[in-house]
Amino acid sequence: MKKLILPALTFIMVISLAACSGSAEQAAKNEENSTLEQTEAAKRTAESDGQNTKGSAFAEEEVVDENLPKLKFAMCYTTFTDKLGAQFKSSTEYLAKAFNVDMQYVEISTNSDEKIAMLESLAQSDVDGILYVGVNPANLEALSGIPYVSFCAEPTTDEVAKECAAYENYLGAICESDYDLGYSAAEALYEEGCRNFCLAGYTKGVSKTHDQRALGFRTFLEEHPDTKLLAEGYSAALYADAVSSFAASYPEMDGLFVTGGNEAVYQAMATEGLSGYVKLACVNISESTGDYLQKQDLSWIAGGQYGTAMVAFGVLYNYLIDGTRMISDTSVTQYRPFLEVASYENYELYLKYVDSGIPVYTVDEIKNMIHYFNPDADQADLEEINKSYSLNNISERHKDLLK
């Protein structure tokens, strides 16, 4: 048996290696094909909806300016297989093609030693710049001067931010305001008439992002004495278990906030018989979000973080193409809002303008914030892009692209 299995395994490995060794070109081709397929699919969808796709952004991306220098960026995130990770990947791939950039996607380990080792290895490869979720001085030190932008996470304290700012290769942090998100979620549930809340979050201390969301939520409740926080549950992504526990222990619960969100939460709501009784607010829009919004089990959800990665890409490119620093004081985080979806109508807008064939920023829009293409571009433009990010803003900007 062993004699049969081993040659088979070795054969598989050789085939895998052969497939991977030509990965760069083949992957690029495959990606191009898949993107084209997606574009075609988007066009077909739009046409079938009676819409006319005009000047598709994917059509623009095919035109690569050969005069632009070839660069290579690495994007480091926890996973690229969930919805958000896949959006980070596809949106930056979309920009990369137009800007003549090769992308390398690397998944981050939870172990700090392995995180630093990964960056040290990247520093030895031919990567020109890094997009990383989070920042600390050890990360910057490990990169030996490779330019670095933090997206969707910021330095954990002001002291760390100052230490990071002292590094020449640190170009700044751009992230969503997670505290505001938690506050907005509570506000939305409050306006829906909820008064007795439960909160399910990620294990405290693991992710500042989730901690801040929970803090914002609690702050709103503290400011409103007519509300009551019945229970809080913090566990590593076991949100559905928390929902079941709350359902069993607190029949008076009428509002629930989950600092993350996935299909399991929706399913737990349905299985525990909370549909129609408890309003849910959560984060990260997924495939079945629309169904639950329609059923009114889901009252409020936030998403659209991949736009942050696109802006971070622009900041990094700005520096590498002509040395322009878009963020003058890198100890100060550049905040952006989440996209908030509070109704099925909002969700339709989201599908059309955020989760369709055209990403939230087109190549032209990102070029407009790059000094090399637009000599007037400066930090004020970046701040304006960040501040104005909303569903209405995207639909206004892209109304001619998706009529």
Binding site: L6, L17, S21, Y105, D113, S121, T203, G205, Y234
Partner: protein
């Protein structure tokens, strides 16, 4: 007639015995060669596909940094795995030690040398707990170490629930000195090798792993020797925790997580017998640690797509283990 038959049987028996001996010898050679061949294959393969980027001086220097922690722990783990033991608590213990060290430095202004001693004492204490629960209470070591791990992780999570504990990176940057790390690594490996191969302490571990009853009958104080092995393991985890803390100067609820799995992979990859015994060799554990480090480093420099990395690693592990692992004696959890 009967005599001829008997003599033929005896000849056949001898032939069968010789054939079996040859098979065993071949298997022994295969078991010891495959991990080295796997390591060399990884080095050569990545040197070719990365056009030499993995063997530059700067990458080799960075590899010392990257394999430092796992190699130190692998040396300590050799003693525990040699007697057929196991410790699932080292990740939690390392996280707890880092937390203790950071708290002492940050809030009590304790001198750094005292913090180092305290951190090592913390991991040694955790290992002692595992050994005591297992030896005195007769609880399987897997369960005992899982309990200690949960307790240690629980303390770290509670302490870090409101905020990470962050030390000034600039202040402790000097500890991340590659020369210091190289010297410490060489000293620990040399001391570990000497203890393992040339002292009664190391030989007793292998004897216990080979056959605990025989070892007991031979006069070896089994419980004492096992306890000492856990102390040495804890000591090695303690040293690695000190450098892990100062590597990124941050303690989070995740600190130390995953070390236990990495060390298991390293032990198996290096061809170290999971049930211990006389075929236990420290170089095998170190080889496993180096293989896993070189593989991870090579895949990143090569630029393999994130989605393919896990599958590729898994396949490679499977091939090396399928070729070198002794299934007749192998058991992961004693």
């Amino acid at each position: 007639m009967d005599n001829t038959a008997n003599s033929r049987n005896s000849d056949q028996n001898i032939a069968i015995q010789q054939e079996l001996k040859l098979k065993v010898a071949r298997k022994e050679i295969l078991n010891s060669v495959i991990p080295y061949a796997g390591f060399i294959f990884i080095i050569v393969f990545f040197t070719i596909v990365t056009r030499g980027k993995t063997v530059t001086v700067s990458n080799l220097t960075s590899l010392i940094n990257q394999c430092f922690t796992i190699t130190l722990i692998a040396v300590g783990a050799s003693f525990v795995y040699a007697h057929g033991g196991f410790d699932f608590s080292i990740g939690g213990a390392s996280g707890l030690a880092q937390l203790m060290g950071a708290l002492l430095l940050q809030y009590l202004g304790t001198p750094i040398w005292m913090c180092v001693i305290f951190m090592i004492a913390t991991t040694v204490l955790c290992s002692c707990c595992v050994a005591t629960i297992s030896l005195r209470l007769g609880v399987p070591v897997f369960v005992a170490s899982l309990c200690v791990r949960s307790i240690a992780k629980g303390i770290v999570e509670t302490a870090c629930q409101d905020a990470e504990i962050i030390l000034s990176y600039e202040r402790f940057k000097f500890i991340n000195n590659i020369e210091v790390k190289t010297i410490i690594l060489l000293v620990v490996v040399a001391v570990g090798y000497y203890l393992f191969e040339y002292t009664r302490f190391g030989k007793h571990q292998k004897a216990i792993g080979g056959n605990i009853n025989t070892a007991r009958q031979a006069g070896i104080k089994v419980k004492k020797e096992i306890f000492l092995a856990y102390i040495f393991f804890g000591f090695c985890v303690g040293i690695s925790s000190v450098f892990s803390l100062f590597r990124d100067c941050t303690v989070t609820a995740q600190s130390g997580s995953g070390i236990e799995f990495n060390i298991m992979i390293a032990i198996v990859l290096g061809g170290f017998p999971m049930n211990g015994g006389d075929r236990s060799k420290i170089p095998k554990a170190i080889l496993g640690a180096l293989t896993i480090t070189a593989l991870t480093n090579g895949l990143i420099i090569w630029g393999m797509d994130a989605n393919l990395v896990s599958g590729f690693k898994g396949l490679l592990f499977l091939i090396i283990i399928a070729l070198s692992y002794d299934r007749s004696n192998g058991k992961l959890v004693s």
